[in-house]
Amino acid sequence: MSPDPTPMEPLVAVEDVHTYYGKSHILHGVSLHVDRGEVVGLLGRNGVGKSTTLKTIMGLVYPNRGKVLFAGKPITGLPAHKLARLGIGYVPEDRRIFRLLTVMENLRTGLDRHGVTEARKQELLDKAFTYFPVLAERRNQAGGTLSGGEQQMLAIARAMMLEPKIILLDEPTEGLMPRMVSQIREIIEVLHREGVAILLVEQNVPLTLEASQRVYIMEKGAMRHHCAASELKIDDAVVHQYLGV
């Protein structure tokens, strides 16, 4: 396994990545980085390439140019399952839990890995059920029978079972009721306290500004703005320009 990165080195670094879907040039020289334990927000309107950026990091999409680095080592072109095992967790837009598997089985897709003792697996499970009691209740139910909010919980819990160093969260609050949105906010906080880095893609600007240390703003497949979250206010001109509310 790679040695711990020096404090200087970001956990995840995306360097000048260009990604195409067929002939469409989706990402134009995107660069960003996330440090260990940091919460970084990625904002932008629909369709600017935020999800594609996450997928590129996760190895679900390969860039045509540019590099992706994890703890200083290049991971561009590696298959997603290797990256998951390296410590990248992915919670996609629309959740994508395994609908025909039970809640328990969904969690097991992350739990059942080499080198994890039964005791540790039980610990992780207990943690998941503590944070998401509703999952404990429904542990033997098929994933598809859960409500939207519950599925979101499951998707996050499932990623947590991988004991990731960073979790890529793609629009976790989309379509959720306000009560659930604040639950998501809490979970992000908990994960942050545990030292898990988070790259948060969101349309919900206030939430993102609150939860993140830094934010990037994308437009048309390129990075347009990057600053500390505290420097940005929701009524800033920048926010209006790129997020057009």
Binding site: P79, A84, F98, L101, E105
Partner: protein
């Protein structure tokens, strides 16, 4: 009243009884073959044209191991393992490069493989059929008829193998991996599941099941290079009638069709009895194209 009685008396009950058992036996073997096919299709979206040849290779491996060791059970075990490995090798070399391409390319590739395998077998073993000796002879009396024990064993073992596999799918870690991959390949990959190896394993399991059928079936017919061809056609019919991708459907369809054919063979020749499966297919396509044993989708 008399015509009815006459009719009732004319029914060949003993024949029907024998054919019922025969039908179930053949049905279970067909189920074992078709399960492998359905599995591979349902999980990997690959129509494995070479499945009949894997069946045939299994039978030949059985012949070889039996000749070398004299043990039927060893032959069954080794043939299954050897062909499973061959299946894995085939999948890695010819099917992996095709993942993500038009699914019809896999039909073509597996068709090519079936041609090569058939001719290879012909080349290596010659056109004369070989025989596999049953592990035990002996019959029992089914009412007033003598019925070989071995045939019952085949049915039982096939059922056991399918059952074992079903349990594996439902409970084991790898079972979860397979089911997750089937539902959402991309997300399974993102959860750390090595999807290409899952595919290879599934193909190998399917191949192994076909091989086991080949060895089990060997004693009933001669083992020759073309034995896979009839079975692949029937297996395809079963898979369509049972509902593509449905394990339970394939099993039910296998037994259903085999029973009907067995009954038909009381009155017509076996060569003509196959028309039964064709008729069932046509009726299925006309009235319930998603499969006879699959609940109608809304």
């Amino acid at each position: 009243m008399t015509p009815v009685l006459e009719f009732l008396q004319a029914i060949p009950y003993d024949q029907i009884l024998i054919q019922t058992v025969n039908g179930i036996v053949t049905g279970m073997i067909l189920a074992l073959i078709a399960s492998g096919l359905t599995l591979i299709f349902g999980i990997m979206d690959v129509v494995n044209f070479a499945h009949g040849e894997l069946f045939m290779f299994g039978a030949y491996m059985g012949v070889v191991v039996l000749a070398a060791t004299g043990s039927f059970w060893l032959a069954l075990l080794l043939a299954t393992l050897i062909v499973a490995l061959i299946g894995a090798a085939l999948q890695i070399t010819t099917l992996r490069p095709l993942i993500g391409r038009d699914p019809l390319t896999t039909i073509l590739a597996t068709f090519g493989i079936s041609l090569v395998m058939q001719n290879y077998a012909l080349w290596q073993f010659g056109p004369v059929a070989r025989k596999i000796q049953e592990p035990f002879t002996g019959q029992f009396t089914l009412f007033y008829l003598a019925y070989p024990w071995y045939r019952v064993l085949i049915a039982g073992l096939s059922a056991a193998i399918i059952g074992a596999f079903w349990l594996f799918l439902k409970y084991g870690t790898y079972g979860i991996w397979i089911r997750a991959t089937t539902q959402d390949r991309v997300m399974a990959e993102a959860m750390g599941i090595p999807v290409s190896w899952v595919y290879t394993t599934v193909f190998a399991i399917g191949a192994g099941m076909a091989a086991a059928s080949g060895v089990l079936f060997g004693p009933l017919v001669g083992v020759n290079h073309a034995m896979g061809v009839d079975w692949i056609l029937k297996a395809f019919i079963v898979v369509v009638v049972g509902g593509m991708g449905s394990l339970g459907g394939s099993i039910a369809a296998s037994i259903f069709i085999s029973l009907l054919e067995a009954y038909a063979s009381i009155w017509v020749s076996p060569a003509q009895a196959v028309i039964v499966s064709f008729v069932v297919l046509i009726l299925t396509l006309l009235f319930r194209p998603t499969g006879l044993f699959v609940p109608t989708p809304k």
